[in-house]
Amino acid sequence: MNYDIVIIGGGPAGLAAALGARESGKASILIIERERELGGILNQCIHTGFGLTTFNEELTGPEYTQRFIEEVEGKNITVMLQTMVIEITKEKQITAMNIERGCFLIEAKAIVLAMGCRERPRGALNIPGYRPAGIYSAGTAQQYVNVEGRMPGKEVVILGSGDIGLIMARRLTLEGAKVKLVAEILPYSSGLKRNIVQCLDDYQIPLRLSHTVVAIDGKDRVKGVTIAKVDERLQPIKGTEEYISCDTLLLSVGLIPENELSAMLSVTFNPSTGGAIVYENLETSVAGVFACGNVLHVHDLVDNVSAEARFAGKYAAEYLNRTMEEELAVIPLYAGEGIRYTVPNQLRISRLEEQTIVRFRVNKPCSNAYLCIYFNDIRVDRKSKRNITPGEMGQIIINKKDISKYPKINQITITMEDK
């Protein structure tokens, strides 16, 4: 089986990548999806808040995804559902399996990695205690409640104030559970401000910042948790422990890009994102392999995923016309003061478009700061930023015409500096 472009994952990233590839040519395109339907995690995100920049309206997850699915249908894009990719080689041979065909081989000319991310589990947190029933990641609980119609418990404590945790605090309250509190180890929430208002404040659910769960009580079923305040080094402070009875603990403690397949390809990773290092065109260190969406870096807004993935698809289509790999001058893009990471990480000047979108996160909450671009040590851009937290992805544009004014650039740095 041969396809020009194979997209791994049929969530929002994969769907938009397919559309981006189709808009740029007549290539044969295949989307491989392991679930029974397209749409990925959006199928269980029944709340609104999606599509504000893409469609200028607030849609639910399933509505947002439906618009992309309808666009993909009728565009001569092949979709394989309930199909799992188990191996990829550098030669772009993909081993996949499903019920109808068993194990089979697909040869691709270009690959777009769009596998999304998964939740950090309890094991990553080192909370002592037995392994009782009643401990779920927030997304698992979301699947139970919104798709299967089962409640995970009656009295709930949520650890971590990421957006999924906040959304689930409201969802479980609406379904009749008592959400006792949300504990966040950091002194600020990693979720969007709007979600604190409409998911916690609207239902009088307390948010305890600088608090974490230090013990889980219960052997067969969760009976309660002990929370404690933490110091600046995030260590629990003795004497601040408080026992909260509950039968359920939800964990909303971060997302990890699902990069097992990318690792098989030996793409180079960025430790700050857990995703691949990419060039200006979202191409990984393996030529012809592109990455986008949450497998590249965890996004907070699906609109950004779709926009990014469209580009990845477009560049995958353009790659098909590339006749030979040549050594091109590369400028590294660095995350400087105040910035945790940037995507992309390397710019090949000859391949740059007029404008390159750089997405980034700050490493601490900033108010009244300057977002700056440096070419070597020369500051070429400075923008005032009102408020930005690590929970909100930012973006800045690098103009090709600015780069051509400075012929001797050997690095570009983005910084967020206090005023």
Partner: protein, 122 residues
């Protein structure tokens, strides 16, 4: 003059809004980056509104639930009543995305629509 502070929920920016209402009932809003913030603060001061999203049981569908939402906003204090009304109903598959599930939720004048297509179980 009464002054209240809100965090805008109209977009992910989350502007901090200061809304004041004068004795004559004139509302002024500060801190908003766009017109949506002003509209939000005015409503939030007088009659807070929210979109309700939840699920409704499905009979004979390929999945047990269909996600639904109110077509527009309803008063915030009617959210729990709305949930109770939607818990009592079941809908028969097939259901099309956008199909009206309830015409007028808890006398708000706002309809509830399906947000996903659920096919019939063969």
């Amino acid at each position: 003059m009464e002054t209240r502070v809100f965090t805008c929920i109209r977009c992910p920016m989350g502007c901090e809004l200061t809304a004041s209402i004068s004795e004559h009932g004139v509302i002024t809003v500060k801190g908003n980056a766009c017109i949506r913030g002003e509209q939000y603060a005015k409503k939030e001061l007088i009659n807070p509104l929210r979109v309700l999203t939840t699920t409704v049981r499905v009979i004979g569908g390929i999945q047990a639930l269909v996600p639904v939402r109110t077509r527009g906003e309803i008063p915030k204090e009617k959210i729990m009543d709305g949930i109770r009304q939607l818990k009592q109903i079941q809908v028969k598959a097939p259901i099309q995305i956008g199909e009206v599930v309830v015409e007028n939720l808890v006398d708000s004048g706002v309809a509830v629509i399906a947000t996903k297509t659920v096919r019939k179980r063969e």
